[in-house]
Chain length 292, copies 6
C-alpha cells in the first residue's frame, strides 16, 4: 500500500492503546447498511474492523437490514408490488421473501465473512429466542411492524459464549406472524436494551452537514438540544429526518452516544473508535466536543 516500516507499524499500534482501553468490555452496536454493505472491498474492511474490535475486547453486535436485496428478489420471483396510498404493501408473500433474503442470505453471508476473517460469529434473527416483538403498523400496509419489545438475552447469551452476534431485523407478533421491521429503529432499540456505549449508524453520507452542499460544513458533535434546533431550522431534512430521529430515540433509550458514520470511508469504524479522528457526526445527550 504505502511504504511503512514494521517499526512504524508497531508505533501506530501503541498509539491505539488509549482508544482500545476506552471501549474495553463495552457494547458497540453497529447498524450496517448502504454502500459499505454493497461494495465488496468496503465490506471486507468492515468485517476486519469488527473482528479486530472483538479481539481487543469490545462486545460488537452487528445489525443489518437489506432493502435493496429484498427488492431484487421480489423482482426475480416476479412479485408485483402493490401500493396503498402510495406506500408499498408488505403482504404475506413479500414478508416471506424478506425473511429469506435477510435471515437466509445476507445474515449468513455476513457470518461467513466474519468467520473468514478469523472471527467467531452466530447469525440470529429477531425471531430467534423471541428477541424482537412487533405489532402491525397499519393493516392496509400488511406485515410491516413496529417493534414493541426487545429481549436482549439471546444476544447476550451468544456474546457471552464468545461469538459476534449478527442480527436480521425480523420480528414476530403475539400470534407468531412475521414482520419486517425497520433496521435503523430496531438497531436503536436493541442498542437501548443493551445499554450500549455506542450505536454506529453506517450511512452513505459524511454525517450531518450544516450546508448539505458543502462537505466541509460537517457537524462533528451534536447535542440532543442542538438537534432540535436543526430540525426547526430545516438543516435536518428529507431522508436525514428519520435517521436523526432514530439517533435521538437510541439516546433516549439509554445508549451513551450514537455516531452517524460515513460508510463510504474505508475502515470508518476503526477510524471512529481507535484514532483521534471521528468518522461522521456524534450525537449525545450533552455538549461534547471531544471524541471520548
Amino acid at each position: 500500500m504505502f511504504p511503512i516500516t514494521n517499526a512504524q507499524r508497531a508505533e501506530i499500534l501503541t498509539q491505539a492503546l488509549p482508544h482500545i482501553q476506552k471501549y474495553y468490555d463495552k457494547v458497540i452496536v453497529i447498524k450496517y447498511g448502504g454502500n459499505a454493505m454493497i461494495s465488496p472491498e468496503l465490506k471486507e474492511q468492515v468485517m476486519e474492523d469488527i473482528v479486530l474490535l472483538s479481539l481487543v475486547g469490545v462486545k460488537v453486535v452487528l445489525v443489518h437490514g437489506g432493502g435493496p436485496e429484498i427488492t431484487d428478489m421480489l423482482k426475480r420471483v416476479g412479485k408485483e408490488t402493490v401500493f396503498h396510498d402510495g406506500l408499498r404493501v408488505t403482504d404475506k408473500e413479500t414478508v416471506e421473501v424478506a425473511q429469506m433474503v435477510l435471515a437466509g442470505k445476507i445474515n449468513k453471508d455476513l457470518v461467513r465473512l466474519l468467520e473468514g476473517k478469523g472471527g467467531r460469529a452466530i447469525g440470529l434473527s429477531g425471531i430467534d429466542g423471541g428477541m424482537l416483538k412487533a405489532e402491525m403498523k397499519n393493516p392496509a400496509l400488511g406485515f410491516v411492524g413496529n417493534v414493541t419489545g426487545v429481549d436482549a438475552s439471546p444476544i447476550l447469551d451468544v456474546l457471552n459464549a464468545g461469538y459476534i452476534p449478527v442480527i436480521s431485523t425480523l420480528a414476530c407478533d403475539a400470534e407468531g406472524s412475521v414482520y419486517n421491521v425497520n433496521a435503523d429503529t430496531a438497531a436503536a432499540q436493541i442498542a437501548g436494551a443493551m445499554h450500549a456505549e455506542r450505536l454506529f449508524m453506517m450511512t452513505d453520507i459524511a454525517g450531518i452537514l450544516r450546508n448539505k452542499d458543502d462537505p466541509s460544513s460537517l457537524i462533528p458533535y451534536l447535542s440532543v438540544k442542538e438537534a432540535g434546533k436543526l430540525f426547526e431550522s430545516g438543516v435536518i431534512s428529507g431522508g436525514m429526518i428519520p435517521k436523526v430521529e432514530c439517533c435521538l430515540e437510541a439516546i433516549f433509550l439509554g445508549v451513551k452516544k450514537v455516531v452517524i458514520i460515513d460508510g463510504r470511508v474505508p475502515h470508518s469504524i476503526l477510524i471512529e473508535t481507535l484514532t483521534d479522528e471521528g468518522a461522521g457526526t456524534m450525537v449525545s445527550e450533552g455538549d461534547e466536543n471531544e471524541r471520548d
Copy 2:
C-alpha cells in the same frame, strides 16, 4: 378428542415416568423431513413433541433439510436446472437459493413454531460458528459437499444457554464457499460428534420392512450385523440404501441407537421416546429386543 378423565390423564402422565428418566439430560438429534415437515398438523405435533422433550430435560437438537422447497424456489426464480451425466448441477445461483430457503425460510419458520409452543429456540446453519466444514464432491456437480468436519461447540453453547438448536445443513469449505450438504448425512455426523443417545431419522415409511408390500413385516430391532445381511439379501434396496447407510455411519461415529421413525404417525417422536411402543426400526450395534 376422545372421552378421557383428568384422573386418567394423570395416570398416563405417571406412566411416562420411567421413559422420561431414561432420556434425562441425554442428547437426541432429530433429522426432520418428509411428510411430517409438510403437513401442517403433523408439523404442529412434532413441535409439541420437541418442546415437551426439552421441558422434561432432554437435550433435543433439530436438524432439517428442505429439498422440495428449494426446488419450488428455483422454479419461482426461473432458474433452469442443468444436468451433468444425469445429475443435477448445483451452481453458485442454486446454492444461494438453497441457503435462502434453508437458513432463511425453513429454519426460521421452525424456530418460530417452537417459540409459539412455548419453547426457546435458536436457529443455526452449518455456517454459524464454523460448525460444518465441507469439500466439493465433484467439480462437475458444483457446490454439493461432503462434510469433512463438525465443530459441535456452537450447538453445545446454544443448548447450554437453554435453547433448542435448529440446524440448517449448509457448510463452508476452507475458502469460504457455501455448500449444500445432504441433511441425513449431516445429521448423522452431528449426532456422532455429540455422542448422542439417539438419532431419529424421520421418514415417510413405517420403518424397515422385511417385505416392502407388507406393513406387518416391520423389523422393530436391527443390529449392524443383521443390516449387512439385509443389504446382501436385497431387503434393503432403492431409497432405503442411503438411509440405512446413514444410520450405520451414525452408529459407527458413536451414536448409541438410531431410529428410522415413521413421520406420518402423529406424535411419533413421543411414542418412540415416552411409551413402551416404538415408532419404526431401531438400529443398534448389538442385538437388542427392547425399547431401552
Copy 3:
C-alpha cells in the same frame, strides 16, 4: 387400566405442555398427610406425582407430619398419655417417640419410596441445619412448639444439589430441646420462607364446601376476603378452621396460592398441576376464577 393407544398417550402428554411450562423452576410445597399417606396405593401415586413434577423441572418440597403413627408407637411402648385441661401433654418421652417416628420411620420411608420411583430424595428434619426454631406454647403441655423462625437454606441447598427435600416437622428451641410442631403450620411457614408458587394442603375432604353435606357445593376459588366472610357465616367450621387459617397465613407470608387438595383422589397433585381441572379449593389473595 383402560384401552388407550400409544398415540392417545402421546397426545395427552402434549396437552400437559402449557401446564408444565407454568410451573417450570417454581417451588411447590406439598403438605402430605391424611388418607393419601395411609393407603399404600394412594401413597404410590403421590410418590409418582412428585417424581414426575421434579423431572419436569418443578422444585418440589415434601413436608409431612405423622400423628396417627406417633400415637401407635406411644401405645406400643406402653406410654400412657397424660392430659392437662383436656389437652394431651407432650413430655420428654413423648417427643422422643415423635422424633423417632417422624424423622426415623415416616421420613425415611418416604425417601425410600421416592428413590424407588427413580427420584433422588434427601430426608431432613427441622433439626437439620437448624432449619426450624420453636418455643414452648404452654409449659403445662410440654414440648409442643410454635415455629418462631425458618432457615430455608438447608432446603435450598438440598434442592440445588438436585434432590427432593422431604421434611419432618420437628424443631429446636434456643437451648436445643426438641419440639413437635404442627405440620400444617410448619408447611405454611416453610412455603412462606421459600416464596413458594403453590402450597398444597393434602386432606381427606373434597375442599371447602358451601354446604358440608353436599359435595357438589365445592368452592373452587376463594379469595382471602371471601374466606373471612365464610368464617363469619360459619361455613368454615370445626376442623376446617385451623386448616383454612393455615392457608391464609401462608398467603400472608408470601405464598402465591394455596390449594386444599383432595388427597383421596388418585393423582390429585397431577390433576391440580398438569390438567385444566382442579382438585380442591384454591385460596389466593385476590379474585381468581381460573387455574393459572
Copy 4:
C-alpha cells in the same frame, strides 16, 4: 479446669498450627460408637472436637451405629428376639425399629448436639440419595445386609454445601427393602469411596495391645503386613478380629490411614489430630513410625 493464662492458651493454639495444616481440606471419617457415644460428657467433647475440626478446614464425616439403643427399644416395644443357629434374626419389625432408632433418634440427636456447639450439620441415612446399597447376607437372618455399593455423592453434596454429614448405616436393596448394616464396615466403605485421609474407629480400648492385659504394650503403628502376623500369632483375637479386618479393608479401599482410637479418653479425636501424641493404634499400608 486448671490454672492457665490466656497467654499460655494462645501459645498452645499456635502449637496446633502444623497439625491443622496437615489436615486442611482433607476428609476424615469418624466411626462413632462405644462409650464415647454413651457418656454425656464424652459425647459433648466429641461434638466439640468435630465442630473444631470442621472450622479449621477439615471435611469431617460422622458415621454412627447404635446397637444398644436398638436393643433397648426392641425391649420397650416388647419385641422378642428370635434366634437362628444362635444368631439374632432381624425380621421386618426389628429392622423398622432399627431404622427409627438410628435415623430418627441417634442421628437427629447428634445433629442437634453439633448444631448446639455452633456447627452446621445435616443427618443422612444410607437410604437418602440412594447412598448405601445392600444385599441380604443370609435369608434365615433376615434384613441384615452386606453393603454392595456406596454412592458418596449425597455426602459430598452436603459437605460442599457447608454442613457436617452425620450418617446412619441403613441401606436398601434393589427392591427397596431396608437393611441394618454393620456400622464399622459401612464406615470403612464410605471412607474408601471418599478416599479419606483418615478413618477413626472409636472404640472402648486403648488400641491394639501386644499383651491385652498390659496397657503399656500398646502398638502405636501397625503396617498391613505386621497386622497379618498379629492375626497369625493370635495377638489380634476375639472382638478385635472384625475391628482390625475392617481397618485393613478400609486401607485396601483407598483410605490413607486408619486409627483405632480410644473413645474413653476425653478429646481423643483432637489429641490424635492436633497434637504430637496419638490416641490409639494407627494402621497403614507401609511402615510408619510417626504421626504424620
Copy 5:
C-alpha cells in the same frame, strides 16, 4: 514451656471454638509495627498468630510501615535529612529509599516468614493494582502523601485466591509519582474500604490508660463519644492523639471495632481474638462492655 498434657491442649483448643466461630469469614486488618516488628521472638509469634487465624477461616490483611528501617537505610546511603520548619523533607531520593525498604525488604521478609510458618502470602504495595492513590500534603515537605482513594480489589483478589495479603503503604498520585504515606492512616482507610470486622493497631503500649503512669488504669472499652471526652480532658495526649484519631476515622469509615493492641505481649493477636481476655483498648461506635 510449662507442663501440660495433650488432653489439656485438646481442651484448650475446644475452648477457642466460640471465638473462632465469631470471626469466621470476617476481615481483620492488622496494622503491624513497633516492638512486635523488631523483636525476632515477638515477630515469630505474630506470624504464627496470623497463619492460625487464616487457617481457621479469618480473612487477615497485614499492613506494615517501617519508619526506623527507612531511617537506618538513609544513614547507610549517607543521605542527609533536610528540614523545613522543623519537619523532615521527603525528597525524591528519600522516597526511593523508603520504597526499597518498605516494598523490597520489610514486605518480602514478612511474606517469607508467613510462608515459613506454612501460610500462603503475597506481598503488595499501594502501587500494585493502583491500590492507594495519594496527593502531596505540602510541596515544601516533598513526597509525603495523603491517601485520597483506596481500591481494595487487588487485596480482595489476593484474599480470594487464598493468600494472606501483606501491604506496604506506598501510594501514587495521578502523575505516577510515588509517596510514602502514614501506615496507621492507610491501614484505617484500607480497613474502612473493606468494611473490616476489626482493625488491630499494634503498638508498644498497654492500650489507653486513664492515668498514663498506672498500668492498672487501662480502659478496656471506649465509645466514640467517650473518646471525645478523653481528648477534651487531656487523658489522650501526645503520641496517643494521632493513634486514637486514626481509630475514630476507621470507625467512621465503616470498620466495626478497632483495638489498640499491646504488641509487646506475646500472641496478643490470639489473646484478643481467641480468648475471653482482651489485649488492649477496644474502640467502637457505641457502648460495649464485652469482647464480642
Copy 6:
C-alpha cells in the same frame, strides 16, 4: 512522527489481525533487561507493548533482573565486594541489598509504569506464594542459588484475576534463606512451568550472528540441532553461550519457541509479535522458517 492519515492507521491496525489471533489467550514470558531497561524511552515503549499485548488477549508475564542497579546500591551503602576464586561472594548483606533493589525498586517501578500506561499490574517476587525454590550453588559464593522448583500458581492466580504479573527473581531455600537467582534461568524455568507459547529474551544484540562483526549475518531461525552445531563450531561463544543455553533449557522444559530479541530496537516486542518481521533469532525444537 511521520505523516500518516487515520485511514492508514486503521489499515495498519487490521493488518495486525492475524498476528493478534495467533497469540490470543497464550502465555508470553518476557525476560526484560539490558538497554531496553535503562533507556527511559525504550522502557516507555516496552511498557506500551506489554499493555497492548495484554489488552488484545495475550497473557504476558514480565520477568526482570537488575544486576547494574544492585551494583550501584552496593556502592552507595559502601559495601565492599569480596571475591572467592575470582567470583563475587553474595553474603547476607549483599542479598539483602539485592532483595531491596529488585523487589522494592525495580519491580515496583515497572508496576507503576504499566499502571501509568493503563495496564493493571501486580509485582511479585519468587518469595511470594513460595513461587521459586532454590538451593545454594557453592557455599563459598554465598546466597547465589540454583532454582530447584517453580510453583506457577501465584502467577496464574494473578493473571486470572486480570493483572500483568511482574516478577523479581529472588528465591528461598527450605530454611527460608533468600537467594539471588539468575534472571535468565529463572525466566526460562517460569516459562517452562507455564508451558508458554513464547519466551522473549531481551538483549542488547541483534540476535545470533553467524559472523559477530556482520549484522547482516543474523540467523533468523535456529533449531535445537543447529544450535548444537553452532556451539561446536564456535559461532556461539562468550556471553552468548549462557544465553543460548537458557533458550535450549526453556525449550526442553516445554516452551514452544524462544526468541532472542533485540531490545535496542523500539517496540521490538510488537514487531516480533504483531508484524511479519522478526526482531532477532527465534529458537525452536524443529526446523522452522516462518514467523508462526
